[in-house]
Point group: C2
Chain length 394, copies 2
């Protein structure tokens, strides 16, 4: 008499979009470990390991370094709402979708938000930012996206940190798409608040947002006049759980923490520098292959983001037709544009476990087969050959 629910058997996609990236079976397998209580001493050991490895990944010794129980957007919100109070001034540099989201969230914190817009496909210009900081008596927060996932641009974070501090502002950096795929040196560059997400270059499933706060940021939190508007994302209370006090705050996502620990262990075993070099090598091959096929790149070549390449959709080619064929016939996911670039660009991610030489070749050869049928002539093998030459040269 009992009712049966059909099994859910998702296909094995190759995830080459802006995230999530494909997750290594070793990381998926870690989630089958028995669930522990969030106050079990054995679980505290797992937390300690995650803390240590996150510090290595962020290149920091910040005590307040932990994975929030949210996705990257929750990390963005936590970074802003823990330091901003009503009436504070924030300057947000916008060169894509996620900068705009930062401004939206800062406004919801009650801040007086000043935005600086940069053309899509270009980096944040530190000179323009500095002019804006000079215009205000005191800017509390400068918000920047290090790796803008919507356009494939890497902005000069180190320089932006220095100028923020010249003007006594805290810098908040979104490294959702850059951490693990580019150099991010929180202590050396003196980043005050840096957040990321697990499902991109870290190579775990989505669901946690690693974040780290330096001394200026923790001072700003301590000197608040009003409580943080979010209880769930309140870093001071969360830190009592992550510190030796281990005081209950909320029930942490145990299985996700196992996955993050395993993904970080794989990062340590590979070596962070090797991983960054892998992202650079594969991205260069992808760019070479696309260009050899006659497909233009959208991002300023001086500032391209290795984990996420943006390609201009050739004239006359229908965005969704190509992506649907890639997904249905080749089990490969790439993504379209977000916001203003919808229909104009493809976003191709090579992140974490998805970032492999064979995947670059698989994608290029699939496109070589699909595009002629969509009205765009391609010399067979041209993209793959160029990518191979790039890989050999690397």
């Amino acid at each position: 008499m009992s009712e049966r629910v059909e099994e859910f058997r998702p296909p094995q996609r190759l995830l080459l979009g802006p995230g999530p990236s494909s997750v290594n079976p070793r990381v998926l397998q870690a989630m089958t470990q028995p669930v522990l209580g969030h106050l079990d001493p054995v679980f505290f050991k797992c937390m300690d390991d995650v803390y240590d490895m996150l510090c290595r990944l962020f290149r920091t010794s910040n005590k307040m370094t932990l994975p929030l129980s949210s996705t990257g957007t929750g990390g963005m919100e936590a970074s802003l709402c823990n330091v901003l109070e009503r009436g504070d001034t924030a300057v947000i540099a916008i060169n894509g979708f996620f900068g705009r989201r930062m401004a939206d969230i800062a406004r919801r914190c009650g801040a007086d938000v000043h935005t600086l817009e940069f053309p899509l496909g270009t980096a944040i210009d530190p000179n323009v930012v500095e002019e804006e900081l000079k215009r205000h008596s005191h800017v509390k927060v400068l918000g920047v996206v290090h790796g803008e996932t919507s356009t494939g641009i890497l902005s000069p974070l180190e320089e932006l940190c220095a100028l923020a501090h010249r003007h006594d502002a805290l810098i908040i950096a979104d490294t959702v798409s850059s951490l693990g795929g580019h150099e991010v040196a929180v202590d050396d560059w003196d980043v005050d608040i840096c957040y990321s997400a697990t499902q991109k270059c870290i190579g775990a499933p989505p669901g946690l947002a690693p974040v780290t706060l330096g001394p200026r940021a923790t001072d700003a939190m301590r000197n608040r006049e009003t409580p943080v508007q979010s209880y769930y994302l309140g870093m001071a209370d969360l830190e009592t759980y992550w510190s030796n006090t281990r005081a209950y705050h909320h029930t942490t996502p145990i299985s996700m923490m196992y996955a993050l620990r395993e993904a970080l262990a794989m990062m340590v075993e590979e070596g962070l520098e090797n991983r960054i070099e892998r992202h650079a090598r594969c991205a260069a091959a992808l760019r070479a292959g696309l260009q050899a096929m006659g497909i233009g790149l959208f991002a300023d070549p001086a500032h391209h983001l290795d984990p996420l390449t943006t390609a201009v959709i050739p004239d006359g080619v229908e965005d969704t037709n190509v992506r649907t064929r890639l997904l249905d016939d080749y089990n490969i996911e790439i993504s379209g544009g977000l916001g203003e670039t919808r229909g104009r660009i493809w976003r191709i991610g090579l992140m974490g476990d998805s970032c492999r030489e064979v995947n670059v070749l698989a994608l290029l050869s699939s496109l070589e087969r699909i595009l002629p049928g969509e009205g765009f002539a391609v010399e067979p093998g041209s993209g793959v050959a160029a990518a191979q030459r790039s890989l050999v040269a690397a």
Copy 2:
């Protein structure tokens, strides 16, 4: 030369605390399925299944029914911040730790919060609540905890809903510890906002917070004058992703969604009524066993919460000694008191997959062996025998 990270091999605990509960291997296994993109049509099918089964669990046809990408505390925050605006009046009934947390969060939303305190171990008294509602010209929100996990009390939610609506207030109900273990009839009782968590009677790992909003709540959201202070937890935007629009909001925790889908499938296969009856039967056996051993119950017997039983720690017995022996020697986790009841009570959960007759007997027999060494005489077999009699009679 490459560095190796030690494997993490957590022991197989029997989780009989206030959550997380032990997760069935079938649910853990679901998380090893390949990760899909959050905009993959195949993943939309998974979301549809989750929606359908959550509606059955909540007993609702509310369109705005979805699992938030947060734990239960994020569900609490979302429920409050989506309807409350600065200056709104909220009445929060407090009969334990989680009612107090609700009041804290409502204050962070800028609401004018009036709290009603009930003695720990007793239920919320609707008459007292009604007196308070009468005292204010307009109460926008009445917040109540249906199953108070800190004390093991189930409050009369149906009655509280009726009186909230007599006074034109929205009712927000915390069903974190009751959903799936007691009757929760969102449509029949006319609950405006109801939230829960995955790691208790639903039987999935922690990390998602199912929530449902009825017509009065969605009207209140639509009529807001200011944006919701949280972007991450903003239900109107989230619903565009869960509705047919499927517009990107944030990257949903894919693997956790697989786990939730599988746990809900197991609920459907068991039958919700059978599951509730299982929670009642096991809890009755536990209570009978504890009392036969001479251990008192903390919660008002007229209002006990089946998924979470609170036991008074016998005089002279050291809380942590017993719990440490249970954990170290028997791999069984139970929990101590939270807040004022620390050191005074034990909190014993029988939730989801942990809620099994054999687990009741395992815990009681372990306590029978541990307690005499901790200065509390127990007749060997007395607890187990009483529990067995209760199970046979059920």
